[in-house]
């Protein structure tokens, strides 16, 4: 093979977030003239399916490997295999419990969700009931975003009560039904945090369908629908990571690793709060995606 080949094994595939990572990776691939493939399992629970993808990726004798681990330990044997074959590994999105990866390109989800909590507190006036619709109970991002939000509320805002946390698998329809049930159970609820794009859109959809007024909705990630909801005023704002940047940086780091360059232990792909006021600012618009 004449072209450098770098497979990215991700946590997911169809979701907008992962598609944005893929877009970033493709962009870097075009720019640096390397070949990149991108795949991930259907749900973030399928740890073993991800192992099979990793095995197949290694069989192709790649120059380097990008890997977003669903479980921080499970892939250790395969990563060791990569190491033995001299294939550098770049971790992205979340790290692994191992020193094998040359670097980790990641968003600090705990800190990002804490920022969402701060914004929520500010917008509801520091007191009242809030709830969370999270995409996953067991995946790293689900846990970090939930805990980041909940812990921040607990330590900084004693008057805010978290009345319910439910998990909708990132499925918009299921998240819609969950939010509607929450609104029924707690009519006096002041705010809801949707911890990924599908969850956030489900919350928005429930607000729309029930015609609820005055509920503060905070989302996560971007995408055309969330951006529109913010413009419409249905959503107060959202945390954005930089998935495109993450994909781009991962490939770039991988190329550097193949050349034997030393890399920092982590590359922060960053996160930011965006709402109607700053959405169009160039530095924010650059990390949003449709």
């Amino acid at each position: 093979q004449d072209k450098i080949y770098i497979p990215l094994v991700s946590k997911g595939f169809q979701h907008q977030f992962w598609q944005a990572v893929k877009a970033g990776a493709d962009q870097a691939a075009a720019e640096f003239g390397v070949e990149v493939t991108f795949e991930g399992p259907d749900t973030e629970a399928q740890v073993d399916k991800q192992m099979d993808m990793l095995s197949a990726a290694l069989a192709k004798k790649p120059a380097a490997l990008g890997f977003a681990a669903l479980d921080s330990q499970a892939a250790t044997p395969l990563l060791r295999q990569a190491q033995e074959a001299g294939i550098p590994v770049i971790a992205f999105d979340s790290g692994v419990d191992s020193d094998i990866p040359a670097t980790t390109v990641t968003t600090n989800n705990l800190a990002a969700a804490a920022l969402a909590a701060d914004k929520m507190a500010e917008l509801i006036g520091g007191a009242g009931k809030v709830a969370l619709v999270v995409h996953d109970q067991t995946s790293r991002t689900g846990i970090d975003r939930r805990d980041g939000f909940v812990n921040r509320m607990a330590e900084a805002y004693p008057d805010i009560e978290i009345v319910d946390i439910q998990y909708g698998g990132g499925d918009q329809l299921m998240s819609t039904e969950i939010t509607k049930a929450m609104l029924t159970a707690h009519p006096d609820m002041k705010g809801v945090f949707g911890a990924n794009e599908g969850s956030a859109l489900g919350v928005i959809n429930a607000v729309r369908e029930t015609n609820t007024q005055g509920l503060v909705v905070i989302g996560y990630d971007s995408g055309a629908a969330q951006k529109a909801a913010i413009k419409e005023g249905l959503m107060a704002g959202a945390i954005t990571q930089s998935p495109v940047g993450m994909g781009y940086e991962t490939v770039k780091a991988a190329i550097a690793a193949t050349k034997g360059e030393t890399l920092p232990t982590t590359i922060d792909s960053g996160f930011a709060w965006y709402d109607a006021t700053n959405m169009d600012a160039p530095e924010i618009a650059a990390v949003l995606y449709d």
Binding site: F13, M182, T184, E209, A225
Partner: protein, 332 residues
């Protein structure tokens, strides 16, 4: 395998009407329980939320009922729904055509895919499980490919979201703003219930499920009828695709996997036999409602999600068992 006359002497099912009433019992028990357990449960808005939550699964379950009565199974209902939603998106948003064309296009796409599944099953004799499993995967992939793995929004077709979230009934009786999605579900249930019980197609549904060879030897073109039934089921999935796309105001290409199990579960809870030959739309509707009430009630009670799963599993078994006991008692 046909059962002997001696097969289930003590278990003869109750008559149609009785059976239907009995099937309601579990649903009513659930409603009463949740009303007592949570003061917020029995609000109109929550009842409407439950109905709306039933709309997609209910429509898919109606499609699945048709196929299951013929003795088949349709694993592709969920991804076919998504595929049809994407087709509507392509027609309306990408090609900018008028609303009615999008609606027709989605239903036609469903009918075409149903025809393909039906042909695989009827003509090529591929077991329905495999034919529709294959279709499920193919349609899942095609939805992603056609949409470019991105949701397609219907922002340029203002009327589109009315399909499911508008309320014709609400315009007439403002205090009961039943969303159109729910209206579609009930109208469809009535229509398909009529088709099943009063038309030739319905009769052949049951007959094929009961003894396909006997029907063929009666001079009936069983293959053609089977294909027609799968095509009808497919076009119903197209309607489900319109409802979900309208609710989300977008075609979400990654959605749909796993919906087939929910739909089949509603059908079976409703008393339709997976062996074919027996079943009813009323039962399926009750099954779909039981599932929706259960999930909503547990959520309104703020039961922790892992316990919701456990309780749902237990109640599904219990509901079917209670039904069985009552039927047995009614028979003896």
């Amino acid at each position: 395998m046909t059962t002997l006359p001696a097969a289930t002497p003590a278990r003869k099912p109750a008559s149609g009407a009785q059976q239907k009433l009995l099937a309601f019992a579990s649903l009513i028990a659930l409603l009463v329980f949740f009303s007592v357990a949570s003061p917020n449960f029995l609000q109109t808005s929550n009842m409407l939320a439950i109905l709306q939550a039933t709309s997609v699964n209910g429509v898919l379950a109606i499609a699945a009922t048709l196929v299951i009565i013929t003795g088949g199974i349709d694993l592709s209902v969920g991804t076919l729904m998504t595929f049809c939603a994407v087709m509507a998106g392509v027609i309306l948003t990408n090609a900018g055509m008028p609303l009615p064309l999008g609606v027709l296009g989605a239903i036609a796409a469903g009918a075409v895919c149903g025809t393909i599944s039906g042909t695989l099953v009827a003509k090529m004799k591929i077991p329905p499980f495999i034919a529709t499993l294959g279709m499920m995967l193919i349609l899942k992939g095609l939805s992603l490919i056609i949409s470019g793995t991105k949701p397609i929004y219907f922002n340029d077709t203002p009327g589109f979201s009315e399909i499911s979230t508008g309320s014709l009934i609400g315009r007439i009786i403002p205090s009961v703003p039943v969303p159109n999605g729910v209206l579609i579900l009930f109208v469809l249930a009535l229509v398909i219930g009529y088709v099943l019980n009063r038309t030739v197609l319905g009769r052949y549904c049951f007959a094929l499920g009961s003894n396909e060879e006997a029907v063929r030897l009666s001079g009936v073109n069983t293959d053609a009828w089977k294909i027609a039934i799968y095509a009808l089921a497919g076009s119903i999935c197209g309607i489900a695709g319109l409802i979900i796309a309208s609710r989300l105001n977008s075609a979400q290409p990654a959605l749909g996997l796993g919906y087939e199990l929910d739909a089949i579960a509603a059908v079976v809870i409703g008393g339709t036999s997976l062996a074919g030959g027996r079943g009813s739309i009323l039962g399926t509707m009750i099954g779909a409602l039981i599932m929706a009430v259960l999930l909503n009630g547990l959520r309104v009670m703020s039961v922790a999600q892992e316990w919701q799963t456990v309780v749902t599993g237990g109640i599904i078994i219990a509901a079917v068992y209670a039904d069985m006991l009552r039927r047995r008692r009614a028979a003896s």
